[in-house]
């Protein structure tokens, strides 16, 4: 960060191509769309900004939202508010609920889904939902692009695996027939430092009284998110209603597991997480 007297270099690439060229030349420059993470809790009249900035405002492509039968593509620089306004009725319910929980209402028009994915210090509200929906991230650099599943976009410590010169351009979310979709945020806003909160995303597919698929993930104010496929598989294929013994085993494993994970959930939040999961698992619809 520079102090207010140091010069700040700002680039305004007007197109994707120029953005990618810039990113190759200045890989250290910070990409800036809504800037809510960089600017949060700055108190002085003037912002303290990184020395080199690339503004993404001029690139329409990064704000585009498109949908086909099987997926929805969201430009990384589309504001949360814009996604909710433009695509509200076409979003999977869990994604809509997730977006409505991101950031205080006042700055949802600046905060972006791309930003939510890229914040380095913690896995933000949107991350668990994208994780279980099998979302993919498009990273582009000059001359190439790659799609990375959200599930493998961070390393074990929670660091986003993005290469120098790469830009997150799109987030692709497959539209799958989940008949149970649930998102809960419990605790305070993540904008409060040292906060105690978690978000829990849960989807399930029930076919002919059988739990055909189940996924859930939990994020809190730490970089790591919690997801355990073995635990999910414990219940997949079971007939509904789930036997109470299985549910209890599931919850006990979850409780032990999450206490040892990097999510740093307090006892209270863990107990709330258990209560939410118990309710969800006990009330799965027969079809």
């Amino acid at each position: 960060m520079s102090d207010s007297s140091a010069p700040v270099q700002v680039h305004h690439p007007p197109s994707m191509m120029e953005l990618l060229i810039l990113c190759r030349q200045r890989p250290e420059a910070a990409l800036f769309s809504g800037g809510t993470w960089i600017l949060r809790s700055q108190r002085s009249r003037r912002f303290r900004l990184p020395e080199a900035l690339v503004s993404l405002r001029g690139i329409d492509e990064l704000r585009r939202i498109g949908r086909t039968e099987s997926r929805i593509d969201i430009g990384a620089a589309a504001s949360i508010q814009r996604i909710l306004t433009v695509a509200r009725t076409r979003l999977p319910r869990i994604l809509r609920e997730t977006l409505e929980s991101i950031a205080p209402q006042g700055i949802r028009s600046l905060a972006t889904l791309g930003g939510n994915v890229c914040v380095p210090e913690r896995s933000m509200t949107g991350f668990p939902t994208l994780h279980i929906l099998d979302a993919k991230l498009e990273f582009r650099r000059l001359g190439s692009s790659r799609w990375v599943p959200v599930t493998s976009s961070r390393d074990a410590s929670g660091t986003l695996l993005i290469q120098p010169g790469e830009v997150l351009t799109r987030i692709r979310i497959p539209l799958q027939p989940w008949n149970v979709q649930h998102f809960r945020r419990i605790g305070e806003t993540p904008f409060v430092e040292d906060s105690n909160y978690f978000s829990l995303a849960f989807v399930g597919r029930v076919q002919r009284r059988v739990l055909a698929d189940l996924r859930f993930a939990v994020a809190s104010a730490s970089p790591a998110i919690y997801r355990n496929r073995d635990l999910e598989n414990l219940l997949v294929g079971r007939r509904l209603p789930l036997p109470p013994r299985d549910v209890s085993l599931f919850l006990e494993t979850f409780d032990e597991d999450i206490a040892g994970s990097g999510t740093r959930l307090s006892g209270f939040l863990r107990s709330r997480g258990l209560a939410v999961l118990r309710r969800l698992l006990s009330n799965l619809p027969p079809d």
């Binding site: 809790s41 009249r45 904008f191 040292d194 006892g267 709330r272 209560a275």
Partner: protein
């Protein structure tokens, strides 16, 4: 379009100016450098090199009185020698560039010899007690010993930020030859600003004028006396630089360092007879006043008078004490004094009725004061007593009894099943009151005066220093004065507060504007009307407020009618609680109100609803605590006023009663009744007796049964 509508229109168009918006490119600014410690002695101030355009000012630069005084309590304008809270103003930097001042201020190093601060108020050391109020009625110990049952309860209420729409601000402007300084101040007490400035700058009264802000802003007690301190800082800088001065606190500075609501801790013991009637009450109230006990006497009197709410008890002992701590000044806020007591008493009442297995409405009715079974302050005019019809009305509006019984049953069944239901539900009912104007004989000392004149052309002019909290006050005044003088309302001009021309009307607090000041204005109009028969126009009449004869306040005994009028309300709140997250949802709010004569029903409803939002803020949304002598930084980012989406549409009904009834202030009624009703509802829903606000929904505050 009337004048008030014109004002609103200009606000909607973005032309409404706040004090900080007044354009003046030549004006200089002031940044306050504050104490880094909670308690200690200043040993030195390390200054950065200042450019010639910037001046530093300390207490040594104050030419006159170095303190401001509010009803006998002094507060340093700039701390000298000793500092009493983290953030206490020590030094001012004045200059033309706000950003430059901000940067320089960071380089000022105030070193202090730190002393162990007093941060706790619930177990105070003797030297922390600033003042006390004791009330004794009957033989408490005897009655307690003879009671069939003894019950105790302990309650706590938290602090709250005023969060005034415009932060603390002032604009000091010299006249052309710099002989007269005019201050535009948002203060709700312009004459106090005037007095403070005159003393501090040692200026003749006539060399100063204090005018109110260009547009009305909700009167919040954050600007009751602290605006005088901010104005004194501006005055000092204006005198030192010979320039106009603008001070505008950032929201953050305001949040951390300006006064907040006093937290309180209350202990109740009651002796009941076999039927549940109150026989003896022993109440202890501790009020945290922060570093300076401003308005502490008034707070204690109001707290003591409301200690038993609307109930009668033959033997009562109340001991209320103001406790100073090394925290920012904690004092007046809507419901000051009364709100804390009424919250505690109503929850205690709920505990008492449970002990004797009574339903809430019948317990309250049975213990309610009446002309023969007196309130704590003794004989009270009938119009100031709680009317049992309020409880009936609130119950009818909300279907209270049926819902209360049904939710109780559902909760018990749920507990047996050991399975969380879809939602937990609860309903609470609480009674509250509001005293209009200063307590006891306080009003008499203010000399509230309103002047009305009637010109040759039949136009009238009303002069006062009343700072209106909304556009409605002047609209109501025009209507009332018009009716009295027999002229159309649009022919009446209302002068803005200006201490150089208008009379002193006292502070805008305790709904004084709509009760005492309005009454005085009407009296002045009546005087004009009388004079008109004998004397030619133009005519001027100044009327001074006199306490009603019935008041007869005895301060020693703590008895008498005291205030101008007392309003009452019965509030019902219904909540739904998510059993998984404990997040409460306010499902309904009903208020039955005895407001005496209602001057403008629409406006009265609005005032009530604005109060409802503040009350829920205090009880649930607005969280503020002190850690190591200050509000932690993360609380600024997390502090939320109740959002519109989380507030219900309230149902408000005014009690209709015949006869000539006084106008009663109602601005604080919601604050004085809703929190207890809400907490009662929440307690029923989660099955735990919650005793503190703001309500905490964290594990440590809920028992394991509740967290099932």
């Amino acid at each position: 379009m009337n004048r008030e509508a014109e004002e609103v229109r200009s606000i909607l168009q973005g032309r409404g100016l706040r004090i900080g918006d007044i354009p003046d490119r030549e004006a200089c600014f002031v940044t306050v450098v504050r104490s880094p410690v909670s308690r200690g002695v200043i040993e030195g101030i390390g200054m950065p090199e200042l450019p010639p355009r910037v001046r530093a000012l300390t207490a040594a630069d104050i030419p006159g009185t170095k303190e401001l005084t509010v009803f006998g309590v002094s507060v340093p304008i700039l701390a000298e020698g000793r500092v009493r809270y983290k953030g206490e103003p020590v030094l001012l930097l004045a200059g033309p560039d706000e950003t430059e001042l901000e940067e320089l201020a960071e380089k000022v190093a105030i070193t202090c010899r730190e002393e162990e601060p007093f941060l706790n108020f619930t177990d105070p050391a003797e030297e922390q007690i600033a003042c006390s109020r004791t009330v004794n009625r009957g033989k408490v110990d005897e009655a307690m010993a003879g009671a069939a049952r003894r019950v105790t309860g302990e309650y706590a209420t938290g602090t709250q930020e005023h969060y005034t729409p415009e932060t603390q601000a002032v604009y000091a402007r010299w006249n052309r030859d710099r002989t007269r300084l005019t201050l535009l101040s948002p203060s709700s007490w312009p004459f106090h600003v005037h007095e403070t400035l005159a003393n501090c700058l040692r200026l003749p009264r006539k060399a100063l004028a204090v005018e109110s802000a260009p547009a009305p802003e909700t009167c919040l007690d954050g600007k009751l006396w602290y605006s005088s301190l901010v104005a004194a800082h501006a005055g000092l800088a204006a005198a030192a630089l010979g320039k106009n001065i603008k001070i505008r606190y950032s929201r953050e500075e305001d949040f951390f360092f300006s006064p907040k609501r006093s937290p309180a801790h209350l202990r109740y013991t009651a002796g009941l007879d076999a039927t549940g009637r109150l026989q003896a009450m022993d109440v202890q109230i501790l009020v945290n006043t922060g570093a300076y006990p401003v308005f502490a006497r008034e707070t204690l009197d109001r707290a003591a008078a409301a200690a038993l709410g609307g109930y009668h008890c033959p033997a009562v002992r109340v001991r209320a004490s103001a406790v100073t701590t090394n925290l920012p000044p904690l004092g007046p806020f809507a419901g000051m004094g009364s709100a804390m007591s009424l919250f505690a008493m109503e929850l205690f009442a709920d505990k008492l009725r449970k002990e004797t297995d009574r339903d809430p409405v019948s317990w309250k009715k049975e213990n309610l004061a009446s002309p023969r079974r007196r309130l704590i302050i003794g004989e009270t005019p009938r119009s100031s007593l709680p009317d049992p019809a309020l409880l009936d009305l609130a119950h009818r509006m909300s279907d209270f009894n049926r819902k209360h019984a049904a939710f109780e049953l559902a909760r018990k069944r749920g507990a047996e099943k050991d399975e969380a239901p879809e939602s937990l539900r609860g309903i609470g009912l609480a009674l509250g009151s509001q005293v209009s104007g200063f307590f006891g004989a306080g009003e008499a000392s203010l000399g509230t005066t309103v002047r009305v004149s009637l010109d040759m052309d039949g136009k009238a002019r009303i002069c006062s220093s009343a700072v209106p909290g909304s556009h409605a006050l002047h609209r109501i005044w025009r209507r009332l004065a018009g009716e009295s003088l027999g002229i159309p309302p649009e022919e009446i001009e209302i002068a803005g507060a200006d201490t150089s021309t208008g009379p002193d009307t006292g502070p805008a607090v305790f709904s004084r504007n709509i009760t005492i000041v309005t009454r005085t204005m009407q009296d002045a109009c009546e005087l004009i009307k009388k004079k008109r028969f004998r004397s030619p126009l133009p005519l001027t009449a100044a009327k001074r407020y006199r306490l009603p004869r019935s008041a007869g306040w005895n301060d020693q005994e703590f008895t008498g009618g005291g205030c101008a009028a007392t309003a009452w309300a019965a509030a019902v709140v219904e909540v739904r609680v998510d059993p998984l997250t404990f997040l409460p949802e306010i499902a309904g709010v009903w208020l039955a109100v005895d407001a005496g004569t209602v001057l403008d029903e629409k406006e009265a409803r609005r005032a009530m609803e604005t109060g409802i939002s503040q009350a829920f803020g205090w009880a649930l949304f607005e969280r503020m605590t002190f850690r190591r002598g200050r509000v932690p930084r993360d609380q600024f980012l997390g502090y939320r006023l109740p959002p519109a989406r989380d507030l219900p549409n309230p149902e408000i009904a005014f009690l209709e009663a015949g006869g000539k009834r006084p106008v009663k202030g109602i601005g604080e009624l919601a604050m004085n009744s809703l929190p207890a009703a809400f907490v009662g509802a929440l307690s029923q829903a989660v099955g735990v007796d919650i005793r503190n606000i703001p309500v905490s929904l964290r594990e440590e505050d809920l028992t394991p049964e509740a967290a099932r």
